[in-house]
Symmetry: C2
Subunit: 253 residues, 2 copies
C-alpha cells in the first residue's frame, strides 16, 4: 500500500510544488513507484511537467466530483501525474454542499493505492476544502517552510487545522517533516528561523536544507524536474538527500 | 474620494503583502492619507505591523459579515490598518450563501471612502470570494509578479477572473500596474520574464523593479515597514520610486 504524503503550507511561494515534483522524481530514481497529484487550481505541478492544462479533457476536478476515475487521467511523465485542469478552481464551490465533501480524494485514491509506493499531494496556498481533502487522504504532511518570519507565523494556523482534521476526519494524520527551503546560511535571519523551527518541531525538521538557486525557476520552463534539468547540480543533490531521509523515516512519527 | 487599489495575484509569495504595506507607507510619506485592509486569513499585513491577531476583538470577518462598521476596527500604525483576525478563514464559507456576497467589502468601505486618498487591499493567494470582493470594491488592480516562469503562467487566469468581474460586477476594474518583484538583473531568466511582461502589458509594467534583499524579511519581525526599518536603504528607495509612479499614473488606464 502506498504512503500518501501531502505537501501543505497555506503560506504562498514556499516550494510546495517544487518539492512535490523533485522529491517524487528522486524517490522514483531510488526505485519507488510514484504518483503525484495536482490539487492546486493554479496547475503549477502539471505545468512544471509540460502538461497542456488548457487542453486537458478531464482533470482532478472531474475526479473529485466523481465523474471520472483517477486512473483515466493519469499522465505518465518523469513520474505519474494526476493533473489539474482550469475547472479545478470551481471544485471548492462544487464540493461545499456535497455529503462527505472532505473525503472525495480519499475515495478517489482507493482504486490506485496499491499500484504505488508513494502518492504525493500538491496543495494550493490555503486551508480550504482542497487542502482539507489532502489532509484526510494522507497519513503524513510534509511542510516546506521558507526561512523567513512570515512563513513561521503561519505554522500555528496549519497545526490548528491539522488538529481539527485529526479530531473529526483522520485520526492518523500528522506533520511528518518540516523542510527548510530557500535556505541561505549566510543570513542571521535564516539561521535563526531554522533554530526556531528546531525548537518547535525537534527532529521532525529534516536535516536536508534546500538552498537557493535559479535552476528551480529554469527547470519548469523546460517542463522538467531540476533532477533531469541538471542531474549533477546542487539542486538535484538536495532533493536526492531529502528523498533518502523521507524513505528512511518511519510511517507516522 | 479615495483611489481603491487591490494588490492581487493568486500565485503565492510574490510580495502582495510587502507591497501593500510599503507602498502605503511611501504614499503616506508623500502626504497622502492611506488605509490598508488585510483580506488574507493568514493576517500577514496585520502581523507585519505588530498587531496581535490572536487577541483581536473584531476584525475584517466581522466587517464583511456586517456585524461591525469598518471604522470600529481601524488601528492606527505607520498607516491606518483594518486588520484580519483568525476568524477571517471562515469568511468565504459564511459569505458564500449571502445575497450580494461579492459586494460586502464595497458596502463596508462606503462610510470611509472620503476620509482617505488611497485604500490598499491586500488579498490572499487565491481567486476566491475574498479576492473577488477586493476586485469589486477597487477601481484598479496592481499585480506583483515574481520574475519567474510559474508566476507568469498565472496571469492568464487572473485576467480571466478580472474579465468576469468586469462583465458581472464592476465594469471599471482593470489592471493598472504590473510590478516586477524579487528582480535579479544578473539572471537571464529574470530579464526574459520582464521582457515577456512588457510584451503582454506594455506600459502598464512599472519602470520600478523591486530587487531582492533580506531587509524585507527582517522588517516584519520588528513590526515595521522597510521604509521605517532602513529609511536610507535600497528597499525603501524602490518603494518610494513606486509610490511616485502610482501617484503619477491616471486613475484607470
Ligand atoms: N530552493 C529554491 N530556490 C530558489 N527558488 C526556488 C526554490 N524552490 C522554489 N523556487 C522558485 O520559487 C517559486 C515558488 O516555488 P513553488 O511554486 O514551488 O512554491 P509553492 O509553495 O508551490 O507556491 P504556491 O503557494 O503559489 O503554490 C517558483 O518560481 C520556484 O521556481
Ligand atoms: N523584494 C523582495 N526581496 C526579497 N524578499 C522579499 C521581497 N519581497 C518580499 N519578500 C519576502 O518574501 C516573502 C513573501 O512576500 P509576501 O509575504 O509579501 O508575499 P505575498 O504575495 O503576500 O505572499 P502570500 O501569497 O502568502 O500572501 C516574505 O517572507 C517577504 O519578506
Ligand atoms: Mg504550488
Ligand atoms: Mg500576503
Amino acid at each position: 500500500d502506498a504512503r500518501i504524503l501531502a505537501l501543505a503550507n497555506q503560506k504562498g511561494g514556499v516550494a510546495k510544488t517544487t518539492t512535490t515534483l523533485n522529491l517524487g522524481v528522486a524517490l522514483k530514481d531510488m526505485g519507488a513507484r510514484v504518483l503525484a497529484i495536482d490539487l492546486d487550481p493554479q496547475s503549477n505541478l502539471s505545468m512544471s511537467q509540460g502538461i497542456d492544462v488548457e487542453g486537458l479533457g478531464h482533470g482532478m476536478y472531474h475526479v473529485l466530483t466523481g465523474a471520472t476515475p483517477i486512473a483515466d487521467i493519469i499522465d505518465v511523465r518523469e513520474i505519474d501525474i494526476a493533473p489539474a485542469g482550469i475547472e479545478l478552481a470551481g471544485a471548492e464551490l462544487a464540493l461545499s454542499a456535497a455529503i462527505g465533501r472532505e473525503r472525495s480524494l480519499e475515495r478517489a485514491l482507493r482504486p490506485v493505492r496499491d499500484l504505488y509506493d508513494y502518492i504525493l499531494l500538491d496543495t494550493p496556498p490555503s486551508l480550504g476544502l482542497l487542502t482539507i481533502n489532502a489532509m484526510v487522504a494522507a497519513e503524513g504532511v510534509i511542510v516546506p517552510v521558507q526561512c523567513e518570519y512570515l512563513s513561521l507565523r503561519g505554522l500555528a494556523q496549519l497545526r490548528g487545522t491539522l488538529q481539527q482534521v485529526r479530531e473529526n476526519l483522520n485520526p492518523a494524520v500528522d506533520i511528518v517533516g518540516i523542510l527548510p527551503t530557500m535556505y541561505d546560511g549566510r543570513t542571521v535571519h535564516c539561521r535563526e528561523a531554522v533554530q526556531m523551527l528546531e525548537e518547535s518541531f525537534g527532529d521532525r525538521v529534516y536535516r536536508t536544507r534546500i538552498g537557493k538557486t535559479i535552476r528551480f525557476a529554469e527547470a519548469p520552463v523546460e517542463g522538467t524536474s531540476v533532477i533531469r534539468y541538471e542531474p549533477q547540480g546542487q539542486a538535484a543533490r538536495w532533493y536526492r538527500q531529502l528523498a533518502r531521509e523521507v524513505a528512511a523515516s518511519p510511517v507516522g512519527v
